[in-house]
């Protein structure tokens, strides 16, 4: 091979560079997050597994229904009615953004821009 003296170190540097996420976090198998659930509320608008996987989509659906289509109806859970709203519904039970939302979001390294406008409950 021509120029192997340059190519091989170059390749090594390249591989090291693109694997930064792996070796930077080496051995750091962090604990999965344990979000703090509300004590007094028993039911959510969806079963736990579904809301965990789909809450971001549900919030987008609510957003479009309420804000764009003007469908400001409520969702009924266990005979009780709740508004389709992050601030006026979700955060009324999950009163701590830090202990609920942020634990998973930080772990998964997602930064939803909800909070640029929507207000978290005062803690």
């Amino acid at each position: 091979m021509y120029d192997s003296g340059k190519i091989i170190p170059g390749l090594i540097i390249f591989v090291l560079f693109i694997t930064i996420p792996i070796w930077y976090n080496r051995g750091g198998g962090t604990e999965p997050p344990k979000p703090v659930l509300p004590k007094d509320a028993k039911a959510c608008v969806l079963p736990a597994a579904e809301i965990r996987a789909e809450h971001m989509k549900l919030l987008n659906v609510w957003r479009d229904e309420v804000l764009r289509d003007g469908q400001r109806g409520t969702v009924t859970v266990d005979g009780k009615e709740y508004p389709k709203s992050l601030m006026l519904n979700c955060m009324k039970c999950h009163t701590s953004k830090k202990q609920f939302c942020d634990t998973c979001h930080t772990y998964a390294s997602v930064r939803p821009y909800c909070w640029d406008c929507h207000l978290a409950p005062v803690e």
Binding site: R63, L67, R68, G70, R72, M87, L88, Y113, D116, C117, H118, L119, P121, V122
Partner: protein, 270 residues
Amino acid sequence: MDTNRRNFLKVAGLSTLAGLGGTAVVDRLVAGAGMAQANTGASQETAGAAPGKPGAIRYGMIIDIKKFYQDPGLGEKAVHACHQFHNVPNFPEKRDEIKWIWMTKFENAFPERPNLYPDEESASKKLPILCNHCDNPPCVRACPTKATFRYDDGIIGMDYHRCIGCRFCMAACPYGSRSFNWRDPRPFIEHLNHDYPTRTRGVVEKCNFCVELVQAGKMPACVEAVADSKALVFGNLNDPSSEIRKILKENHTIQRNPSLGTLPSVFYIV
């Protein structure tokens, strides 16, 4: 001779066709546009942009200028109620200014009606102006993402999630009703209302006729704030028996620059 005649017939036939087609197009274009004040619905075929259908509801407002002239505190109350409820920031510098409803002089609200000899009150006192919630809104036409749009009940809403901040709507609005978040507004909101979101920097905002209250069957915040005086009346313009229509029937009202064909839903009793 024969060819001439054939050519003549061809030309005549073609121009008749073109004429017929042309008039049909022109008819469609001018339908409803003849009257700058055509009622809701009639205009919407031609508006091109107005997504609303002629519905049972078209919300509107009457502003009684005299009452605001007589009691300067009234305007302050209305503006404060609105800005407080909607978390509208109060910037120290005018260049960052954001406003949904504000007090201004007659000559600024109605620049198309200049008067060489204005009465003393009009020259010195102030009246409130806000988004006109036009039935044929230029801002909705201009928006490239439908971030500003018309609800079926005539309110012009804003979807801050979708706005890209191009400010085309601000150039399009002939009433100067729109403001832009030049910087993060949160630090400049004096008393946060925790039941309503703030905005983020880089989006346009404006009066939303309190759509979140109105569609829940309540009155807009500014109307509520001055309810005792009846200086602001809100209601359904498409309902002939509504209070707002009754007042419109009994009083001479004006709209801000109606000659632009925007069909404002805010009326002023002079």
